[in-house]
Amino acid sequence: MEQWLQWARGPAFKFAFLLMVLGLLRQIILAVIGIAQAWNRAGDKTIPKKVVFQTTLQWLFPLKKLNNNRPAYSAMSVIFHIGLIFTPVLLLPHIELWKRGLGIAWPSLPHALADVFTLVTVAAALGLIIGRLGNKESRRISRVQDIALPPLMALPFITGYLAMHPVLNPIGYNVVMFIHVMSANAIFALIPFSKLGHIILLPTTQLVSELGWHFPAASGVDVSRTLKKENVPI
């Protein structure tokens, strides 16, 4: 198991992490080029900057969304995001790894608070899955990744908690660490290739949904010609 853990922390981690960094870079470049192309083709070249900015902010801090038709689900999602971002970044053992690898460090969460964050995040992930599968409409529109990702995201949290609390751990430190590292690797590698990509594409998402529907200049004529309804009043 020791060697497997070494492998997960070494080559597998390097692969997954670099793939994430480069993959996100690639997505953002492609998104910008795609937007530029859409804009060049568009007949109506106005960009509603204010609307884009406001909706982006609304999604970044979704306080307003809490008041929609499924407030509990939305709240859970917000909590899930907070736990997801802050726990791993501010966890002391992770900061030690940054310090050792790249020589950079920042303040950490207290031990007990990190435990609370972890458990809350796991609970929120559980809530999200129940909320998605328990509701007929949302079950119907769910893709595979919508259902599979929350449990995968919760896995490093569960195994991380077990690794920090050996008394509760039924399967041995190395095994639990292996699952911890490998599930995190899987998440890193999936980020640029799944809906997790929104961590970098968020600023462009609203822009795409605005500009993507600006039709090319002559598209009206094309449509009427295709439908054989030229010169017919709409």
Binding site: F15, L18, L30, P110, K195, V208
Partner: protein, 646 residues
């Protein structure tokens, strides 16, 4: 689909090469290659440089055919042949940048002329011919440009086609043969089967044969990829010429062996002889026979096989001359690291991608080639953005960039740690300093004592000096040593009480522990702290919390109980070696660093304190005396004391 698959594979190799490139240039040759001082020319020279130059020979051969011999029917393949040559030379120049240890010094041969150097000719030929190739190919790009200035340049370049072609032929001839000349200066390194006074001629003729084969290969590949009509008539003619050239090459090669009485090497059964026979068969003899038969020349498979064999055979020939044939002389086995293969294949991939780019966007063939895109795909939702748009002209860029970054990440994960962090010295365990009989002498005028190992055969002549017990410090036992007058230093520094000045740390239950007890490696820092030992010892009295007092803190050296809290007498007071509190983590620097730091720093201090007594005390020669290996053969060290330490 075919084209996308091939391009996808090429992009993958380009990605692998890209990541190796980063570490090659930031961490050096040693970090990514298997090259050594005995084998400094490896795969990059053999394959990329020598092979690349030879593969590019098609350019000048076809240009000469059309513009000098006026065989106009070959006009259709001038542009692809020149493009292949141009990209081949670009790959050579790129490969050289990887291989040259200090690539930013590449401009030097332009200004510092070494008329006697074979490499001087090579360097100038590469530079000039690469420039000529750029000018020869420039019209293809310029003719599509509308800017009036570019149009003027286009007309000038087009007008000077013939002089450029002539210049290209001259420079090619010089360059192809000068690469052979390069190996004339190493008759004792290259195996007799490959070494020959006519190497330059052999290189030149084989380059022509290879150039023809390469043009055939390249025509067939682009025909297959772009589903074009195959110019079989042209290839037939090229094959016929290739048969003559390759036949001449084989004849010259065997004739040369016969004239120089080297034929017996051919069948002496060594692996070199087998390699030579294999190489000659696939590079020259088989292709000659195949190209000579009109029936085989007519069949696509036959042409492809013959040309492929020749291309493979001559690349092997260049690798043999520059590398494999030198193994018996150097006795050093070199096998390229995967990173070297990655660079070699990556450069070729990048050149091939550039070839496709020019073929698809310019009039290299009669018209720009390209795959017709499927216009009416069913829209699929993008997994990341969820957008259902498949019109994107970025579809190819999406695919290739994906393959590229996967390759980069994969390559990064595969690179060993030392490639990423830079090469570190090999582990060299330190051996104990030995007590030996030494001679100490001081002449009237000399400021310093001179030392030597006592040699009983030469006798203890009083003029030679005084026989005293000394410490022979040669940590790696590599016949380089320092003789150290331990008793003398002790007496000068204040007798038995002064040990702590140098012996700054005592191991538990020990006094004045020897240097090598903690500084255990010649060059690499080592850890003096044994975690397992402490864990087992302290299990009974409380375990981990004995040292890791605060479980909320991460477990590292800085947050743990310092050694001195338990081992009170570990550090000697008033030592010359002063270590800051935060650095007292139990990591001992390498032996050499530790010795140099201690001795040189102290000598420097003494030198400034009493400049009249010891003006050269801090110089290398004060300690490093008498590098005479014979001294060590007559050496009989005293019995060594066992250390009392744990």
């Amino acid at each position: 689909m075919r084209l996308r698959l091939v391009k996808g594979i090429l992009w993958f190799f380009a990605g692998l090469a890209a990541v190796v490139t980063v570490f090659r240039f930031f961490k050096g040759l040693g970090a990514v290659t298997a090259l050594t001082d005995t084998t400094p020319w490896g795969l990059w020279i053999g394959f990329d440089v020598l092979g690349g130059v030879a593969l590019a020979a098609g350019g000048f051969v076809i240009a000469a055919t059309v513009y000098i011999f006026h065989m106009e029917k070959y006009h259709a393949i001038v542009r692809p042949a020149v493009l292949t040559a141009f990209l081949g030379y670009a790959a050579v120049v790129g490969g050289l940048m990887f291989d040259i240890g200090i690539p930013w010094n590449i401009w030097r041969p332009m200004f510092f002329w070494q008329h006697h150097s074979a490499l001087f000719e090579v360097a100038w030929c590469v530079m000039l011919y690469f420039t000529v190739l750029q000018l020869e190919f420039a019209p293809v790009v310029l003719e599509r440009m509308k800017h009036p200035l570019l149009q003027t340049i286009y007309k000038i370049v087009k007008f000077s086609t013939l002089p450029l072609v002539i210049l290209g032929i001259i420079l090619s001839t010089l360059h192809q043969s000068s690469l052979g000349t390069l190996f004339l200066i190493m008759p004792y390194r290259v195996h007799p089967l490959w070494y020959s006074p006519i190497l330059p001629i052999l290189f030149y003729i084989s380059a022509i044969g290879l150039g023809l084969s390469m043009v055939i290969t390249e025509s067939m590949v682009s025909t297959w990829l772009y589903k074009k009509h195959l110019e079989k008539d042209l290839l037939n003619g090229l094959g016929k010429t290739a048969a003559w050239v390759l036949g001449l090459y084989a004849f010259l090669k065997l004739g040369d062996l016969a004239v120089n009485n080297k034929l017996h090497y051919l069948f002496d059964g060594s692996w070199e002889s087998n390699l030579f026979i294999f190489e000659l068969l696939i590079s020259a003899i088989l292709p000659t026979i195949m190209f000579a038969s009109p029936k085989i020349r007519q069949s696509t498979g036959g042409l492809a096989t013959a040309a492929g064999l020749a291309v493979f055979g001559f690349v092997l020939n260049r690798i043999d001359v520059s590398g494999l044939s030198t193994i018996q002389a150097t006795g050093s086995l070199y096998f390229p690291s995967w990173a070297e293969f990655a660079i070699s294949i990556g450069i070729v991939s990048a050149a091939a991608l550039a070839f496709f780019f020019f073929v698809e966007n310019f009039f290299v063939y009669e018209e720009p080639c390209g795959e017709k895109a499927e216009k009416y795909d069913v829209p699929v939702a993008d997994p990341v953005t969820g957008v259902r748009l498949s019109w994107s002209p970025l579809a190819n860029a999406r695919l290739y960039s994906l393959i590229f970054i996967v390759a980069v990440a994969f390559g990064f994960a595969m690179l060993p740690d030392y490639a990423v962090k830079g090469a570190t010295p090999e582990k060299t365990p330190v051996n104990k300093a030995r007590r030996v009989d030494g001679l100490q002498a001081k002449t009237e005028n000399a400021a310093l004592y001179s030392y030597a190992v006592f040699n009983p055969e030469r006798g203890n002549n009083p003029e030679n000096g005084e026989k005293i017990e000394m410490l022979l410090i040669d940590g790696d036992r590599k016949n380089k040593f320092v003789l150290f007058n331990h008793e003398g230093h002790q007496a000068k520094n204040g007798g038995k009480e002064s040990c702590g000045i140098c012996h700054h740390m005592n191991k538990p239950l020990d006094k004045a522990s020897s240097c090598d007890e903690c500084h255990r490696d010649m060059f690499v820092a080592t850890d003096t702290f044994d975690h397992e030992f402490h864990r087992d010892k302290l299990k009974a009295s409380g375990g981990c919390v004995k040292c890791h007092k605060d479980p909320a803190q991460s477990k590292n050296r800085l947050t743990t109980t310092p050694c001195k809290d338990c081992h009170k007498k570990m550090r000697a007071p008033n030592s010359f070696v002063k270590i800051a509190e935060k650095d007292q983590t139990g990591i001992a620097p390498g032996y050499m660093t530790a010795m140099h730091k201690l001795c040189v720093e102290c000598h420097k201090q003494k030198q400034t304190e009493k400049p009249e007594l010891a003006p050269h005390l801090a110089r290398c020669g004060a300690c490093h005396q008498g590098f005479e290996e014979s001294m060590l053969t007559s050496l009989e060290p005293y019995p060594q004391e066992e250390s009392g330490a744990l």
